[in-house]
């Protein structure tokens, strides 16, 4: 049998398993029901006191039990939940022996305040003013050896690689808010190179803690909405005022079409194309001409061997910040021209919030579910349309539609732009 190649002569990359956990719940069924039901997962933060904070809500995942809460611990747990669902659906390999590499999008890891305070107290030695020298003195005692492993950047990927038995050296990566899409892109490239027949690609983020929230607040990136929390994320609305931090994870099992067919796997969709283009304009803002966004979208469509006319749905980055939504709209209008206003563009972040490192992977899974169900989740909270954004944002209610090729956009701080094009099962 001839190997299945795409229009560029490369192995076709398909998805055979998907898993997802967000503030809306665990698993594809629960998430899909709520996404198409227009339900918001954003609520007031109860994980820690929010006194003195301007933003007091987020899309936290609080229903997952965890003993020692930390960003890496929750990110790891969420990734496990998503990966278990994806592997069960895919049926690939045997438990604990995945036949390919791991690409993990994960938040940068740092020691956090509970640990820092404990160290300073243990090392205080009666001193009144505490510094890192006191914390270091505590570190020297050897009592805190477990912090080493927990707060290594490698730890989450290492633990997942061990649990799922992925092959080779796992890659943890960050391209800021595009990380989840980059993880998928790395998997696609590895399969296209013929290095592997399968890859496990995961995006995960469990980083809602006081300092992370304050950092985004200081950059004026977060919504400070005084409306009920579930109404705070309002992408493409005129009164949008920032994104809402959120947590979650999604995992995808990628395989070559040949490999998937050979083992009789059900094919959930095709990763048709990946595109990227870096924006060198500013650390947090897009180039005013939108060229990097346009270039990114165009390169993903070209990589898929398609033209803009073939795209019939856009899963937006749609963060609900004034800047992103304006620039994404400009990019879409530039690429799709007159058709732009007819292509439904929907922001999952209106319901899930912005899951940062996980967003690209979560939105890829939602895009694939959109293809499978031929139904588009809405952009909720769209009550005040922005006349500067003349797009069909699928306002407030899900819609049945014929969807053959979806593009999912991810744009992040540091000029990171990645777009993925996905389609249904190949004929």
């Amino acid at each position: 049998m001839a190997a299945k190649k795409d229009s560029a002569g490369r192995p076709v990359v398909v998805v055979t398993g998907m898993g997802i956990v967000t503030s809306l719940g665990t698993g594809k069924d629960e998430n899909w029901a709520r996404l198409t039901g227009g339900v918001s997962g954003i609520r007031n933060i109860t994980r820690f006191p929010t006194d003195g904070l301007r933003t007091r809500f987020a899309g936290t995942v609080d229903f997952v039990p965890l003993n020692d809460w930390s960003t890496p611990a929750l990110s790891e747990r969420l990734a496990q939940i998503a990966a278990e669902e994806a592997l069960a659906e895919s049926g690939i390999g045997i438990r604990g022996d995945f036949p390919g590499p791991l690409f993990l999008a994960v938040p940068p890891i740092e020691l956090e305040w509970p640990q820092r305070l404990k160290l300073a107290q243990v090392g205080a030695d009666g001193d009144d003013t505490l510094t890192y020298q006191h914390a270091l003195a505590a570190a020297r005692t050897g009592q805190f050896k477990s912090y080493h492993e927990r707060f290594m950047f490698m730890s989450v990927a290492d633990h997942l690689a061990e649990q799922f038995g992925t092959k080779g050296s796992p890659i943890s990566l960050s391209t800021a808010c595009a990380s989840g899409a980059t993880a998928i892109q790395l998997g696609v490239e590895a399969i296209r190179r013929g290095e592997t027949d399968a890859a496990l690609c995961i995006g995960s983020d469990g980083s809602v803690n006081p300092e992370a929230l304050i950092r985004f607040q200081l950059l004026s990136a977060l919504s400070m909405s005084t409306e009920p929390p579930e109404q705070a994320s309002k992408p493409f609305s005129k009164n949008r005022d920032g994104f809402v931090m959120a947590e979650g994870s999604a995992a995808l099992v990628l395989e070559s079409l040949d490999g998937a067919k050979a083992r009789g796997a059900k094919i959930l969709g095709v990763l048709e194309g990946c595109g990227e283009m870096t924006d060198a304009f500013h650390r947090t803002r897009s180039s005013p001409d939108g060229k990097p966004i346009v270039g990114c979208i165009n390169s993903a469509i070209a990589d898929a061997g398609l033209s803009p006319d073939d795209i019939d749905h856009i899963n937006a980055h749609g963060t609900s910040t004034p800047e992103n939504d304006k620039m994404e709209s400009l990019g879409v209008i530039t690429v799709f021209g007159e058709r732009a206003t007819q292509i439904p563009i929907s922001s999952n972040k209106s319901m899930i919030g912005h899951t940062l490192s996980a967003a690209g992977a979560i939105e890829a899974v939602v895009s694939l579910m959109t293809l499978q169900n031929q139904r588009i989740p809405p952009t909720i909270n769209h009550r005040v349309p922005d006349p500067a954004i003349p797009l069909d944002v699928v306002p407030n209610e899900a819609r049945d539609a014929r969807v053959t090729h979806v593009i999912s956009n991810s744009f992040g701080f540091g000029g990171q732009n990645v777009s993925l094009v996905m389609g249904g099962e190949p004929q």
Binding site: F48, D51, V106, P108, A135, S174, T175, Q416
Partner: protein, 398 residues
């Protein structure tokens, strides 16, 4: 199947460390064989700081410099050197399709703000509210970006205009190995023509040194070469920046670029280190799969040994199986820069094969022995202090 793998050349090197700036300064210092570490700045710990960089030379806007913590400045500076070395600095048509992979850590803290919170929070009537209030009013808004992992790449895009693609790998030592491995694989497979790969580290940080001291890895004075730390294992953190331009041979030839060396292979592993010998076995497995024949008496090993236990002891066991090959551990001079360490050693290996010579040994335990032959190949080892094994083969382009 894919066509035969394309050949990849190293056409640019940008390195800075305690040994100085650029390949020549590094080679001269290695030839002098007088390692030194700073035992004052982070006493009782040893570090290898980087001094005297004139950042204006590579980061002309002061505004850009102010947006970076030192590790980003060191890295952006070294990236500029690499672009210059390859002759592509300012060449927008090449930079706009250059693929960048950065190996990064991050997480630098504002020590004064943290100290005030460590001191005040336990005494505050409402500790959590105190934390929220202090962080909100005392943190510099720009600190987040200055310590954020992917913003080294972001700064390189802004300052040097590298915009083809930008990916940041995290994961301590293995991030550097994987950055090079993926960049090379993409070039060999025709997915990329030219890439900028590198990383940087600032060792002068008690908050980051602490991460390694949790497990007892931070080396205290007095200084000893990496192989001579038998009873006092550990590493002296080293500030450094190391960037390489990796380029498809035909792409380099088309623009008349001169190769420094050929990057023949980069291999990565993640041995489960539960049993003694796992690291040694991993290195042996990778050694056995090196894709080019090793030339008798013309290949050497540039070891990335850190001094960490038990990783360095296991690497020593591996090396004792290859006693016919001359070994040099650069960590004695450079200290340990974690993410960029492997890339720095690949850069130094490229310099060695380009010159056809090795620098003198710095070890009394017998791992490093004098060698005065002419070399054409260097194998670089990278053994993470906790996880991650890597091997690269760098060859002279004849």
């Amino acid at each position: 199947m894919a066509d035969q793998a394309r050949e990849a050349w190293i056409t640019g090197i940008g390195i800075v460390s305690c040994l100085g700036e650029g390949p020549d300064a590094h080679w001269k210092a290695l030839q002098e064989a007088r390692p030194a570490a700073d035992d004052q700045t982070q006493a009782p710990y040893l570090i290898h700081p980087v001094d005297g960089l004139d950042y204006d030379k590579q980061i002309p806007k002061k505004g850009d410099q102010r947006q970076m913590e030192p590790w980003q400045r060191i890295g952006t500076y070294a990236a500029g050197l690499a672009l210059e070395s390859a002759g592509v600095k300012g060449n927008t048509s090449i930079l706009s399709r250059m693929d960048m992979i950065v190996a990064a850590g991050g997480g630098e803290r504002d020590q004064a703000v943290d100290s005030a919170i460590m001191t005040g929070m336990p005494k505050a009537p409402e500790p959590e509210a105190f934390l929220n209030e202090r962080l909100t009013s005392d943190l510099r808004p720009t600190l987040f970006l200055a310590q954020l992992s992917n913003l080294l790449a972001g700064n390189i895009s802004i300052v040097h205009g590298v915009t083809g693609s930008s990916r940041t790998f995290m994961g301590e030592e293995s991030s550097g190995v994987n950055a090079l491995r993926i960049a090379l694989a993409r070039i060999q497979a025709g997915q990329s023509d030219i890439g900028l790969v590198g990383g940087s580290y600032n060792a002068d940080r008690p908050d980051l040194l602490m991460l390694y001291e949790f497990a007892g890895h931070a080396l205290k004075a007095p200084f000893a070469p990496v192989w001579e730390r038998k009873d006092r294992s550990g590493f002296a953190l080293g500030s450094m920046g190391a960037f390489l331009i990796i380029e498809a041979r035909e792409h380099a030839q088309a623009r008349g670029a001169v190769p420094i060396a050929r990057l023949t292979a980069t291999l990565a592993d993640n041995a489960r280190r539960q049993n003694p010998g796992a690291i040694k076995d991993s290195l042996e497995r990778m050694w056995a799969t090196l894709p080019a024949p090793l030339l008798p008496d013309r290949h050497v090993i540039i070891s990335g040994a850190t001094g960490a236990a038990p990783a360095t002891a296991e690497e020593r066991d591996f090396l004792s199986n290859h006693r016919d090959v001359a070994v040099r551990a650069t960590g004695t001079y450079l200290g340990h820069g974690v993410e960029p360490q492997f890339l720095m050693n690949v850069a130094l290996a490229a310099v060695a094969v380009n010159r056809g010579e090795l620098f003198p040994p710095c070890d009394t335990t017998g791992v490093e022995r004098p060698f005065s032959g002419s070399i054409a190949q260097a194998i670089v080892t990278g053994v993470g202090h906790w996880r991650g094994e890597g091997l690269a083969l760098v060859e002279a382009v004849s």
